[in-house]
């Protein structure tokens, strides 16, 4: 399934400067795997050594935090947008 991934400023240098990357995948895990296949330098920013999501990475599937949609098992469909953001504070 073709999916669009939007990268934050901090990750773009690891993806040849791209802000938006087209990937294939039916789950978020597959989306991340295809992203790493295209840009291997992103691996450590997406996954922990145990294979979970980086603790300072917020991932939104069409604006919804994937932590409440099944994390890496979240289903993605055509025309979905995955947005990556670093965790920052407010207040």
């Amino acid at each position: 399934m073709p999916v669009e991934v939007r990268l934050p400023t901090v990750l773009r240098p690891l993806a040849s400067g791209e802000a938006v990357v087209k990937v294939e995948g039916d789950t978020l895990r597959e989306v991340f795997q295809d992203l790493v296949r295209q840009y291997p330098g992103l691996s450590e920013s997406l996954f922990t050594p145990e294979g979970d999501m980086h603790r300072h990475l917020n991932v939104f599937l069409n604006d919804d935090d994937v932590r409440y949609l099944g994390r890496l098992d979240a289903k993605v469909g055509a025309a979905d947008t995955v947005t990556l953001m670093p965790a920052v504070a407010g207040g």
Partner: protein, 317 residues
């Protein structure tokens, strides 16, 4: 009773107003808690008061001691006001791209302001404040992101107020900044009724923080982690400036003059209604502040596209 010995006694007990008329599905009631009526203008007055008074009680804050905090504006305003009343000098580390009104409000209460680089966002301001705290061990650093008195203010104040005024609440929606509000209110409401759903909304604040060198420089507040925030929440959404501004404008139809983080909360409410296609229920959304501090950004009167573009460069959360 509207007579008080001190303005500090007017913090909290904010009104809860029904705005169901603004939304299409009249079977779902929506009430908004107007935190902009607090004396320094936002929900953060609650946390500021609790942090200072808990520190006074445990002896970590002494009379006349300088208070230090980093803030995008609202917490600093609350601390500045209370510090002024209680006679503490106060230093605020504020990102240089917060609205002009926020800076002027801090100056009105006599705060010393140290600006941190815009590109580093709130995280940069916090790191600067942590460094200053290290250099000045005689100062008291309130550290809102890790101070248990922050969520306690909402566990003992905001949460019980909502339960008192609206025991039929099925959903609570609030912004995620320090996580103090959502942790304190969320825990209180879930203890009373585990079926209450807790929804967080946040702006896309991290997307363009150019000063961040790697994800490892990111930050999740200890207030959130220590209280198992990921398990407490039922859903979390990011809400962009356009939705926030549209909602801030729509709220004026109900006479509510609300800030942009408030608009974000309302967009979360709208999303909640549509996404879940609720048959019935009662949503309470916390509106953190009023619109006063955003007037210079032309949120209500400017061309929508231009205002959205400008909001992308200004820190409003």
């Amino acid at each position: 009773m509207a007579r008080y010995d001190s303005v500090l006694d007017t913090i909290g007990n904010t009104p809860l107003v029904d705005i169901t008329e603004l939304l299409p599905n009249q079977r779902v009631r929506v009430l908004v808690k107007l935190e902009g009526v607090n004396p320094a203008g936002s929900v953060k007055d609650r946390a500021a008061k609790y942090m200072i008074e808990e520190a006074e009680k445990d002896g970590s804050l002494h009379p006349g001691q300088r208070i230090l905090e980093s803030s995008s504006g609202n917490t600093a305003a609350g601390l500045a006001m209370i510090a002024k009343v209680k006679g503490y000098p106060f230093t605020a580390v504020v990102p240089e791209n917060v609205s002009a009104e926020r800076v002027k409000l801090l100056l009105a209460f006599g705060a010393e302001i140290i600006c941190s680089p815009a590109a580093e966002g709130s995280n940069g301001a916090m790191r600067r404040a942590q460094a200053l705290a290290g250099e000045h061990p005689d100062w008291w650093f309130s550290f809102q992101y890790g101070n248990p008195a922050n969520p306690k203010a909402h566990y003992e104040g905001t949460g019980p107020e909502i339960w008192r005024d609206c025991p039929e609440v099925t959903h609570f929606v609030a912004g995620l900044g320090t996580a103090g509000t959502i942790i304190g209110v969320g825990r209180f409401l879930k203890e009373r009724n585990p079926a209450v759903s807790i929804w967080a909304v946040q702006p896309p604040a991290g997307e363009n923080v150019e000063g961040l060198k790697s994800l490892d420089e990111g930050f999740v507040p200890p207030v959130f982690i220590d209280n198992d925030g990921y398990s407490l929440l039922d859903r979390s959404r990011v809400v962009g400036p356009r939705e926030s501004i549209e909602w801030a404008r729509r709220l004026t139809s109900s006479g509510i003059f609300a800030g942009l983080s408030t608009g974000a909360a309302m967009a979360g409410v709208a999303a909640a209604r549509v996404a879940r296609q609720m048959e019935s229920g009662t949503i309470v959304a916390l509106l953190p502040d009023g619109g006063w501090k955003y007037l210079s950004t032309d949120v209500w009167s400017g061309d929508l596209d231009e205002v959205v573009e400008r909001a992308g460069h200004e820190l409003y959360f």
